[in-house]
């Protein structure tokens, strides 16, 4: 069996985990708010990939709890939410940039008391 032709979940899951870790690292480490936003998109898509992997290779075959379509449905929700989130996030970044002339998240520390 060839690694690339073996239709197994773990390939997709490993990829999803790597993408997720990459996104999380971007969120935590990068200073540019737009990059942070993009990293979040990356994490969301990692999750999407995981959903799809489990939809294609269910853990319990022929589960009575629902068909593989439930994973797809979740992905559509995530995509829609991510689109909305990106719109709102970019709007906030623009608003913040207008008042502070900066997109550096280190300077956005007014959440503390």
């Amino acid at each position: 069996m060839d690694f690339f032709h073996a239709h197994q979940a773990q390939h997709y899951l490993v990829l999803g985990a790597l993408l997720f870790a990459l996104g999380a690292a971007g969120v935590v480490l990068r200073r540019n708010a737009i990059i942070v936003l993009m990293s979040i998109e990356l994490m969301l898509n990692a999750v999407n990939l995981t959903f799809l992997a489990f939809a294609r290779f269910p853990l319990v075959p022929n589960s009575p709890m629902g068909s593989f379509l439930s994973g797809h449905a979740a992905v559509f929700f995530v995509i829609a939410t991510a689109a909305a989130e990106a719109a709102v996030g970019l709007a906030i970044i623009i608003a913040v940039f207008r008042s502070r002339t900066s997109v550096n998240v280190d300077e956005f520390d007014t959440l503390k008391l």
């Binding site: 999380a24 969120v27 935590v28 480490l29 942070v36 998240v105 280190d106 956005f108 520390d109 007014t110 959440l111 503390k112 008391l113």
Partner: protein, 651 residues
């Protein structure tokens, strides 16, 4: 008989108090007086009508006004009982109370707080009537506390004077000690007998131990309210209040509540023979103790105050030896003549513009004929000179003490019994000596105030009081004389119309019989002879010392009995003793508790300690919340990773 109008008796004065207290300030004076007087007179008329009804074959009137509260098996009603005892007391309270209200119109007219005064006075009447009429101990306790409150308010009526305000506080605190005992007594009766209803308690078979404990606790309450040793110290100080208040509350009505309570619960006390001994002995000691002090006081109100304490002691002798009718008879006659004496003293003080010192009076009979005559009548009555009311009531008590059988089968322990047959005669002897002293100090007071030459301050022209004050004096003096009708021995008036109205005959069946049975038949003549002799001896001693000499009689006594008299003039140092033994240790304890427990432990450790701990923890925790969202996200991610490790890898 169940009736529907009895609640009016305590309710009307309560309404009067509400009107006077809430809107009295803005009412015209005349209206206020009308409200205040009517709200005492109307209950008197209701009581009079009911009292006449009692003669027509009805034993008692009873009304269940409302069920106050119920909890478990406890059921407390606001219910009133109007029988021969509480009925007579109602008439005394409202009747004497009304006269004192009338008198107060003259006495307090110029005081700016007159509306407040009448509100308190009406409230007092309402509370006292609740106490008297209440058919259960809890209702009685409401009145008991109510009169204590009014007493406090009225003693400290002129509260801008620190001394008077503290006298009010003293009365309240000392009474509180007694009330504590009263409450415990109620608790004991409820837990052991399952009822607080007086009629039920009086008809139940009470186990000896329960009866002893409950009766003793209730008697502690009585020593507070009725100013007996050891809690009598508040009453002399209570003279700081306006004089009519002293007459109404601290002589005629409230202070007799303890005697009334013992007589009301006669069955309970009869079931507790040891406590009966305590009651009688405490009464005897109080009677002689305060009579001694009264001989050496120079403040006219203080003399009367100690006299009141002493007379209350006599009443407790009466109820203590099982002669409940004698004790309550003295209660009633004492209400008449002591109210008259106090109001007379008030008239003197009024006429002398506030002078209360007997040393600065004298010769007032020329200036105040009405006051002098009524004071004289009341003095004759209290000194027990034939044939005024005090003679009969006081001698009845002493004769009953001499012949009592209440101590002949005294049970001290549940196992054995012992006979204290010598106690009755001893009480008689001491009581007779106290009666002699009573006569002595009352005549001293009379002679110093009204005989001899005027020694008062220059520039003060003593004057007779207006009729609004003298008319009540005359009525009370008349009652002090007529009270003898109640006190006549039944054997004297046997077969006449008066027999029905002698108190002994009238209250037959109201009180329980003492343990050894009532005293056998005895001839009252010998006791009367001795009592008369004692009364005249007191007069004679006082006459020789004070009638001609005036104040130098005191000097003569002081020369002979220097240290004794000085001790008596200083009230036998009881206040100082209490101060050393009780007040100061309490003070020190309170101070210690304040410093150590309150300031250090509670304030320091709990009140301030816990917040500062929280503040410190918060200061630590604040470091984590620096507003950097990325750090939050990093920490969250680490947390999730840790959780995943725990749940996925470790398990």
């Amino acid at each position: 008989m169940e009736v529907s109008w009895l609640h009016l008796v305590p309710l009307l004065p309560l309404i009067g108090a509400a009107i006077c207290g809430l809107v009295g300030k803005w009412l015209p004076k005349g209206w206020l007086y009308a409200v205040a007087l009517a709200s005492v007179l109307l209950p008197f008329l209701v009581g009079l009508r009911a009292f006449v009804g009692l003669g027509e074959g009805v034993q008692l009137f009873h009304q269940l006004a409302f069920n106050w509260f119920s909890a478990g098996s406890l059921r407390v009603d606001m219910a009133f009982t109007f029988d021969r005892l509480s009925g007579a007391l109602t008439l005394v309270v409202t009747g004497v109370g009304f006269l004192i209200h009338v008198y107060s119109v003259g006495y307090m007219d110029e005081d700016p707080g007159y509306w407040r005064y009448f509100a308190y006075l009406n409230l007092f009447i309402a509370a006292m009537l609740t106490l008297v009429l209440g058919d259960n101990l809890v209702a009685m306790f409401v009145g008991w506390e109510g009169v204590g409150l009014c007493s406090y308010l009225l003693i400290g009526f002129w509260f801008t004077d620190e001394e008077k305000a503290s006298a009010g506080r003293k009365a309240f605190v000392v009474n509180r000690i007694g009330d504590f005992g009263f409450l415990i007594g109620i608790f004991v009766l409820f837990t052991q007998m399952g009822t607080v209803n007086i009629a039920q308690i009086n008809s139940a078979a009470i186990p000896m131990g329960v009866a002893q404990l409950a009766a003793f606790c209730l008697f502690i309450g009585a020593t507070g309210k009725s100013a007996q040793i050891p809690l009598y110290i508040w009453l002399p100080d209570a003279m700081a209040g306006p004089t009519p208040v002293s007459a109404l509350i601290h002589a005629a009505t409230m202070v007799t509540a303890g005697v009334y309570m013992v007589a009301r619960l006669s069955h309970l006390y009869v079931s507790a023979p040891t406590v009966m001994v305590v009651v009688a002995v405490v009464g005897t000691i109080t009677a002689i103790w305060s009579a001694l002090i009264a001989t050496s006081q120079n403040d006219i109100k203080k003399v009367l105050a100690y006299s009141t304490v002493s007379q209350l002691g006599f009443m407790f002798i009466g109820v203590g030896v099982g002669a409940f009718f004698a004790g309550t008879l003295h209660l009633i006659t004492h209400a008449f003549f002591k109210a008259c004496l106090f109001l007379g003293a008030g008239a003197v003080i009024h006429g002398l513009h506030g002078e209360q010192d007997l040393q600065r009076m004298g010769g007032l009979r020329k200036y105040m004929p009405s006051t002098r005559t009524t004071f004289l009548i009341a003095t004759i009555a209290i000194t027990g000179i034939f044939p005024l009311s005090g003679f009969f009531s006081k001698d009845e008590i002493l004769a009953q003490a001499l012949h009592t059988r209440a101590f002949s089968l005294l049970t001290l322990t549940p196992g054995g019994s012992m006979r204290l047959t010598w106690l009755g005669p001893l009480i008689y002897a001491v009581g007779s000596f106290a009666a002699f002293l009573t006569s002595f100090y009352m005549w001293r007071c009379y002679f110093l105030a009204f005989s001899g030459e005027y020694r008062g301050p220059e520039g003060v022209h003593p004057h007779e009081s207006p009729p609004v004050m003298t008319v009540p004096l005359w009525i009370l003096a008349g009652l002090a004389v007529l009270g003898l009708l109640l006190g006549l021995p039944p054997s004297w008036v046997h077969g006449t119309a008066l027999e029905h109205w002698t108190w002994e005959h009238f209250t037959e069946g109201v009180f329980a019989r003492p343990r050894g049975g009532a005293p056998g038949e005895f001839s009252p003549a010998v006791g009367f002879g001795i009592a008369l002799l004692v009364g005249w001896l007191g007069w004679a001693g006082s006459y020789t010392l004070y009638f001609k000499r005036g104040l130098s009689g005191d000097e003569l006594l002081s020369a002979r009995l220097g240290p004794v008299r000085r001790a008596l003039a200083n009230k036998l140092y009881v206040d100082e003793l209490y101060d050393r033994v009780i007040v100061r240790p309490l003070w020190a304890l309170a101070r210690g508790l304040w410093r150590v427990v309150d300031a250090t432990l509670i304030d320091g450790l709990f009140v301030n300690g816990i917040p500062s701990l929280i503040a410190w923890v918060s200061a630590m925790a604040r470091r984590f919340q620096n507003g950097d969202v990325q750090r939050y996200a990093a920490v969250t991610a680490l947390g999730v990773a840790a959780l995943l490790y725990v749940f996925l890898v470790r398990s």
